[in-house]
């Protein structure tokens, strides 16, 4: 057990998040509108993540919002909003060792929204819903990597699959939540975000 994968994955997670965030930082200035819209969306996602009811089997109406944010506002805002989501809600529920990896995963969801936009500019809600459903599982699969490397030995694909299988029911709930919410809400959310996207770029007709 010479190499300490647990240490490496943890540090990789932290470093990846820091690097990506600093890349966001470098690339041009955000104006006040962008700052406030990103913050509002992140707070909204975080609230959606925190407030889940028994009546809804704890499904979270959040991941699709991050994805659509990425789809509408691009990879940068998408990543930012996504990465903020677990961070903000954890300020209130308690940060954990999982935070950096969660940030990475959520950020990737946002980036993926932008990827969908780049690949299929005309993509409608159906594509987004399908992608969102897949991410429900993908998110679990990525999150398991950390848990697997830190607590499991030997690091074989079998142990990984077992770890993943242990979380399968949670992943399924997440995926179903994503599917339902994206199908039900996606269309309108898309419209709302696009409306405000237009509002963010002010045109000066005469100065």
């Amino acid at each position: 057990m010479g190499t300490n994968w647990g240490l490496y994955t943890t540090l990789t997670g932290i470093l990846a998040v820091l690097l990506l965030l600093s890349a966001m930082e470098k690339k041009g200035a955000l104006d006040s509108r962008q700052v406030s819209v990103i913050a509002v969306l992140a707070a909204l996602c975080a609230a959606g993540r925190a407030v889940t009811g028994v009546g809804l089997l704890f499904l979270q109406p959040t991941m699709f919002l991050v994805e659509i944010t990425g789809f509408v506002y691009g990879a940068r805002v998408g990543f930012f909003t996504g990465a903020m989501t677990p961070l903000i809600s954890n300020f209130f529920m308690g940060q954990g060792s999982w935070t950096p990896w969660q940030m990475l995963c959520w950020g990737l969801v946002g980036v993926f929204g932008a990827v969908v936009k780049a690949l299929f500019p005309q993509a409608g809600n159906k594509t987004l819903t399908a992608v969102c459903f897949l991410w429900g599982y993908l998110y679990g699969a990525i999150m398991d990597v950390w848990q697997w490397t830190v607590f499991m030995r030997p690091l074989t694909w079998q142990t990984y699959l077992l770890t993943w299988a242990a979380g399968f029911s949670f992943d399924s709930l997440r995926a179903i939540g994503n599917l339902f919410f994206c199908a039900a809400l996606g269309h309108q959310t898309l419209k709302i975000l696009q409306y405000f996207h237009k509002k963010m770029d002010v045109q000066y007709l005469e100065r």
Partner: protein, 581 residues
């Protein structure tokens, strides 16, 4: 040189065809206190934003004319320089706080200006002590009350040490106590520290007298422009409601002097009445026994019996509340922040269950299982009308509620839209409407089921005086039709004008309840301005109309004093401005 000089300013918001400001010309002197008032959509907020340099910088749109600040054109001025000279505080305290820590919020503007650390520390320290914010200095901003948030917003602007302070309805979202506090600070800044203050405001009874000049706006134009007294007289002449009650009262009398405070008003009133024996107002409550007898026969719609309530892990919010509200009553519930008013409403509609005691609404217990049955007969308007608006059109918004309750009668939609004057907006997106219109849409969306009980939480917050009286009028009509109206409000003037019965709460208890004259007429602090004016001279007067009715004949007896030049007989204000809307 004037501080601000505005020449022929015309402005269109992006994508609109109607100008928000039309040919505005204006000069503002250094050290002046300028009060800007008018209805919603009159362009007063837009003007404030132009002076703060936010229009067209932040909003875009088309602008014509020129704005000079200290002789230099505003648009060529460096943003940092302008921000150091002109500070602006906005309406909604919730939407101005950026940082999560109070101290950091105060420093926010200073950071933006790029000031060095020691300069920032000094300024933050100064402002914290001036605004008395040290008790909450390290607090999490989200935990602050609305009043504290607004104080913080003001502090954050003051830390930038501007010479001009622009305030856009800074107190409209606050309770009276916090509002008073903000206005006192503004007054001190103007009088003791020489700040130039430009304040857009609706709550006139508290700030009219502070102003050196009053600017009355309508439809994007300045319609009157002069001293407080001149402003009052002009507004009354035009039938506009934007005058504090005392000034309106005397302006309607065509008095040569228009007092703007209760103190001045009382002096004037007493000088008029000199010689006349102090009026021995019959101290009988206004309700005649006839109607009280009738009320006993009426059905009780809401009945609370010894209700106690406490949030889990929190303090007791309601203590032994017993209250009976009859069919057709218009009840206003008054009280300070945290007195338990909103909790009481939630208990009434069944959103909360009482810890002890019984609640009956329409004869059912809402907290237990009657909730689903009674909500069809109960309309509840929360503090924020935006909570209701998410459909594509106004019509859909109404249909959404009907659909939920399985109602099909489209005629009801037409009728409600007509009654609330919303027909024009039927196919419009509710989010494109102004705040007053949004509130009417929200109201329509809950009244469409034709409920017998209408419950409103702070409906007058943030809406202008004209809309306020329209709302009051509407609710009064509903009550006259046999519906029961319950309003929670901070607005004593509103309660005095429109309600029939007033309930006063304090620290979770009901401390006074009864006919409004009985409750408000005897109160010193919770009484409308007119009542303060008449206290001891003519007791029991609450509303403008009553004051005219009671005092009118006495004052007319000495017309020589009252009527200055014209021999008009119709001084009792049959014009719009003198009859309450």
């Amino acid at each position: 040189m004037p501080l601000f000089k505005v020449e022929n300013l015309t402005y269109y918001y992006p994508g609109t065809e109607k100008p928000a400001l039309k040919n505005i010309s204006l000069e503002i002197r250094e050290g002046e206190f300028l009060l800007v008032t008018g209805g919603s959509g009159s362009g007063k907020s837009t003007l404030a934003r132009v002076l703060a340099g936010l229009i067209p910088d932040f909003y875009g749109g088309r602008i014509g004319g020129k704005v000079f600040f200290r002789g230099r054109e505003l648009r060529v001025l460096d943003r940092r320089k302008l921000a150091r000279e002109v500070g602006m505080v906005f309406q909604d305290p919730e939407k101005q706080i950026v940082q999560s820590c109070v101290e950091a919020e105060i420093a926010f503007g200073l950071e933006n200006l790029g000031l060095p650390p020691d300069e920032m520390s000094r300024r933050v320290a100064e402002v914290v002590s001036f605004m008395n914010l040290s008790p909450v200095q390290d607090a999490f901003t989200a935990d602050l009350s609305g009043g504290q948030k607004q104080k913080l917003a003001l502090a954050s602007v003051l830390a930038m040490q501007p010479r001009v302070l622009i305030l856009d309805e800074p107190t409209s979202q606050l309770d009276p106590v916090s509002a008073e506090e903000i206005l006192n600070v503004v007054k001190r800044l103007n009088e003791e520290m020489g700040f130039t203050v430009i304040m857009v405001e609706q709550r006139l009874e508290r700030c009219f007298h502070l102003a050196d000049r009053v600017l009355l706006m309508a439809g994007g134009e300045i319609i009157c422009h002069g001293s407080a007294a001149e402003g009052a007289r002009e507004a009354v002449r035009r039938g506009l409601p934007f005058v504090p009650p005392v000034a309106r009262f005397f302006a309607c009398l065509n008095s040569p002097v228009v007092p703007v405070t209760v103190k001045e008003g009382r002096e004037l009133l007493q000088s008029y009445l000199k010689g006349n024996i102090p009026v021995t107002k019959p101290d009988v409550p206004r309700t005649n026994h006839n109607s009280t007898a009738k009320e006993h026969e009426k059905n009780s719609i809401i009945s609370l019996k010894n209700v106690w309530f406490g949030y889990p892990g929190g303090r007791e919010v309601l203590k032994d509340i017993s209250l009976d509200i009859k069919e057709g009553e218009f009840v206003a519930i008054l009280g300070e922040n945290g007195a338990g008013k909103s909790t009481l409403l939630k208990i009434m509609v069944g959103l909360l269950r009482p810890g002890r005691g019984r609640v009956y609404v329409h004869g059912r217990e809402p907290g237990r299982n009657g909730f689903k049955e009674i909500r069809k007969f109960t309309a509840y308007l929360s503090q924020n009308p935006n909570d209701y608006l998410f459909q594509e059109t106004v019509e859909d918004e109404l249909l959404f509620t009907m659909h939920n309750f399985g109602l099909k009668d489209r005629g009801q939609v037409d009728e409600i839209l007509h009654r609330l004057q919303l027909e024009r907006y039927r196919q419009r997106n509710p989010r494109d409407l102004s705040s007053g219109e949004r509130q009417r849409v929200a109201l329509a969306s809950i009244l469409v089921t034709d409920p017998g009980l209408i419950i409103l939480d702070e409906p007058t917050r943030g809406i202008d005086l004209g809309l306020k009286s329209e709302l009051g009028q509407f609710l009064r009509e509903e009550a006259a039709k046999g519906k029961t109206v319950v309003v929670v409000t901070h607005d004593v003037e509103f309660a005095a004008e429109f309600a029939g019965r007033v309930v006063m709460m304090f620290a979770g208890r009901i401390v006074a309840a009864g006919e409004k004259h009985a409750v408000l007429g005897r109160s010193v602090f919770y009484s409308p301005q007119i009542s303060k004016l008449c206290r001891g001279i003519c007791d029991g007067v609450l509303t403008f109309a009553e004051a005219q009715e009671q005092l009118g004949p006495l004052l007319v007896a000495k017309p020589a004093v009252l009527i200055t030049n014209t021999g008009e007989k119709a001084i009792w204000g049959l014009t719009g401005g003198c009859t309450p809307h």
